[in-house]
C-alpha cells in the first residue's frame, strides 16, 4: 500500500474517532438534559440543594466545553475538504472549462441573484414560507434577471446537511427526531442543534483565521453550481457581461459577504451584495466588491445584535474593513418599518414580504 494512502486511511480513522467522541460528548449532554426534564418530583426531592448545585455546575461546565468542541469539530470538516480528504477541491480554472449549454434563458440573463438562506436551512429545499417568498420574488423579477435558489449555504461540499461527510448518520437521526418525535421539547432541541451547527459555520466564516478557507470553498461550490446552470464567466463572445448579486437572509448575509470577493475572481464578473435582516461581521475583503445593500427592519433585534457581536462593525474601530466600506459610500441601507427578524412580522410573513421584495427589486 502506498505510504500516502496509508496515511490517508489512518487520518480518516482518526477523524471518524474524533467525530464519534465529539458526538458522544454531545449526546451525553443531551441525555442529561432529557433526564433532568423527565425526572419526577421524587428524584428531585431526594437531592439536597448542594447536590442540585453540583449537578447544575456539571451541566454548565459541560455546556461550556461543548461550545468550543463543536466549533473545533466543525472546523475539522472544513479543513478535511481543504486538504482534499473529502473528494478533492476543484481548481477554479477547471470550473468553467466545459462549454455551457446555451439556453435562451442563459443568453438573455444579465444579472443572476444567488439566494443564501438563513441558519434555519437544513435541506436544499427551502421551508414553505421561504419557498413562497422566493416564488413571488421570481415572478416579479425583470426578464433579464434570474434567481438561483436551493443552494446549501452551510455545507462546503455540494451536499445536504444529512449527507455531509463525517456526521451524516447523526444529522439523519436528528432530522427524523425533529419531524416525528411526539414530544415537542425533543423536536425543539433538534431544531436548535441544526441551527447551532449553522451558527458555527457563520462563526467560521467571520473568523480571521478560518474564514478565508471556508469562504473560498463556498465560492467554489457556488461557481460550480452556476456553471451547471449555464453561467458564462467574464463577457461571453457576442453576449453582454453578467453580474452576480448575492442575496443573503440573516446568517446568509455573512456567507454572502465572505464569498463575494472570491466569487468575483472565480467568475470574473462584478459581484454585489444584498442582505435582508442580515447578521454579518464585515471582516471580509470588500474593496473590490460592488455595492452592499442592507434591508433592515426597525423591529429586528437579531440583526441589531450583529453590530454588538461583531466588533468590526463598531464605530470604535474606524480601520475595520466594514467601516472602510462605509467611508467609501459602498453601503446603502433601506429600513422597513415594522419588520422583525422572523415570525408573523418577519420578511417571509404575509405582512412584510411584499415590502421586502419591492426593496430587493428596487435595489437591483
Amino acid at each position: 500500500m502506498a505510504p500516502l494512502q496509508a496515511i490517508r486511511i489512518q487520518l480518516a480513522g482518526q477523524r471518524r474517532l474524533a467525530g464519534v467522541l465529539g458526538w458522544l460528548v454531545l449526546l451525553s449532554g443531551l441525555s442529561s438534559l432529557v433526564i433532568s426534564l423527565h425526572a419526577g418530583p421524587l428524584l428531585l426531592s431526594a437531592l439536597s440543594p448542594a447536590d442540585l448545585a453540583l449537578v447544575l455546575q456539571a451541566v454548565a461546565i459541560l455546556g461550556l466545553l461543548l461550545i468550543p468542541i463543536s466549533g473545533v469539530i466543525s472546523v475539522t470538516s472544513q479543513f478535511a475538504f481543504w486538504r482534499g480528504w473529502l473528494g478533492g477541491l476543484p481548481q477554479p480554472a477547471d470550473i468553467f472549462l466545459e462549454p455551457a449549454v446555451a439556453t435562451a434563458d442563459a443568453a438573455s440573463t444579465r444579472c443572476t441573484i444567488v439566494y443564501l438562506d438563513g441558519i434555519h436551512q437544513s435541506e436544499r429545499d427551502h421551508p414553505p414560507k421561504v419557498a413562497a417568498f422566493l416564488a413571488l420574488l421570481e415572478s416579479r423579477l425583470p426578464s433579464h434577471v434570474r434567481l438561483f435558489k436551493g443552494l446549501e449555504t452551510y455545507t462546503v461540499t455540494p451536499a445536504r446537511l444529512a449527507d455531509d461527510a463525517g456526521g451524516s448518520w447523526f444529522w439523519r437521526r436528528l432530522f427524523a427526531l425533529q419531524e416525528h418525535h411526539p414530544n415537542p421539547w425533543v423536536s425543539l432541541i433538534c431544531a436548535v442543534l441544526v441551527q447551532a451547527n449553522n451558527v458555527i459555520k457563520v462563526g467560521i466564516s467571520s473568523d480571521r483565521r478560518y474564514g478565508p478557507i471556508l469562504n473560498y470553498e463556498l465560492a467554489l461550490k457556488v461557481a460550480q453550481r452556476l456553471a451547471e446552470q449555464g453561467f458564462q464567466p467574464g463577457q461571453p463572445p457576442g453576449g453582454r457581461p453578467q453580474e452576480l448579486v448575492l442575496l443573503g437572509y440573516s446568517g446568509g448575509g455573512e456567507m454572502a459577504l465572505g464569498m463575494a470577493e472570491y466569487l468575483r475572481r472565480i467568475c470574473r464578473c462584478p459581484v454585489r451584495i444584498m442582505t435582508f435582516c442580515g447578521v454579518f461581521s464585515g471582516n471580509q475583503l470588500l474593496e473590490q466588491v460592488g455595492e452592499i445593500a442592507m434591508i433592515v427592519g426597525d423591529r429586528d433585534p437579531v440583526a441589531a445584535f450583529g453590530r454588538i457581536a461583531y466588533p468590526g462593525r463598531s464605530p470604535l474601530l474606524p480601520l475595520s474593513n466594514w467601516n472602510k466600506a462605509l467611508k467609501r459610500g459602498q453601503v446603502r441601507r433601506h429600513c422597513i418599518n415594522g419588520l422583525s427578524h422572523n415570525g408573523l412580522s418577519g420578511p417571509f410573513s404575509d405582512r412584510n414580504r411584499t415590502a421586502v421584495i419591492a426593496a430587493i427589486i428596487g435595489g437591483l
Partner: protein, 180 residues
C-alpha cells in the same frame, strides 16, 4: 563538577515533576490550539507533528522563564529563598486553566477563551503566591505581573511569527488562486 550539577538538576526535576509536567502539557495545549494553521498550509503529517512539538517546547520554555522571574522577584523583594523545582511544584497548579488552551482553536470565540484562560492563570498565580509565601494580595500582584507579562509577550511573539503569518500567507495565496 558535572556530577554535582547533574545531581542538582535531578533533585530539581524530582521536586518539580508535577509542575514541569503541567508546564509541558500547557505548552502542548497552546501549540494544539493552532494546529489548523499547520494543516491549512498543507504541511505533511510528519511536519505537523514536529512543528507542534517544537512550538510546545518553546511555549513551555516561556512559562518556565516566567516562573524563574517570579523566583527572582520573590527572593529580591519578599526575601523568600526558594529553588526552581520547589517553586514550579508550588506554583504549577496555577497553570491548570492553560490545559484548556487547545479550545482557542474554536472559531470566533477564540479571543474570549484565550483572554479568560490568561486572566485565570494570573489570578491563580497571585492566590498561590499569597498562600505559599505569606505575602499580601497587593504584593503578590506586583510579584506575579512581570513574569506573567513576559510569558504573554513570548506567546504573542510565537503567535505572530508562526501561526498568524501562516494564516496571512494562506489568505493572500487564496486570492490569486481564485483568479487563476
Amino acid at each position: 563538577m558535572i556530577e554535582q550539577a547533574l545531581d542538582q538538576l535531578a533533585r530539581w526535576l524530582m521536586q518539580a515533576d508535577a509542575g514541569l509536567g503541567l508546564v509541558a502539557l500547557v505548552g502542548l495545549s497552546m501549540s494544539l490550539s493552532h494546529l489548523f494553521a499547520l494543516v491549512a498550509n498543507r504541511l505533511t503529517p510528519r511536519q505537523v507533528v514536529s512543528q507542534l512539538i517544537l512550538d510546545a517546547l518553546v511555549l513551555s520554555l516561556a512559562l518556565v522563564l516566567a516562573s524563574l522571574i517570579n523566583m527572582l522577584l520573590l527572593r529580591a523583594f519578599a526575601g523568600a529563598a526558594i529553588d526552581p523545582g520547589e517553586l514550579l511544584a508550588k506554583l504549577g497548579p496555577s497553570l491548570i486553566p492553560g490545559l484548556f488552551y487547545c479550545f482557542v482553536a474554536a472559531p470566533y470565540i477564540s479571543d474570549l477563551i484565550a483572554s479568560v484562560i490568561w486572566a485565570l492563570i494570573h489570578l491563580n498565580m497571585i492566590t498561590l503566591l499569597h498562600v505559599h509565601f505569606n505575602v499580601s494580595y497587593g504584593q503578590a500582584l506586583v510579584l506575579a505581573t512581570p513574569g506573567f507579562v513576559v510569558a504573554l509577550l513570548l506567546v504573542v511573539a510565537v503567535f505572530h511569527q508562526g501561526w498568524q503569518r501562516a494564516y496571512r500567507q494562506l489568505a493572500s495565496t487564496l486570492a490569486p488562486t481564485a483568479e487563476s
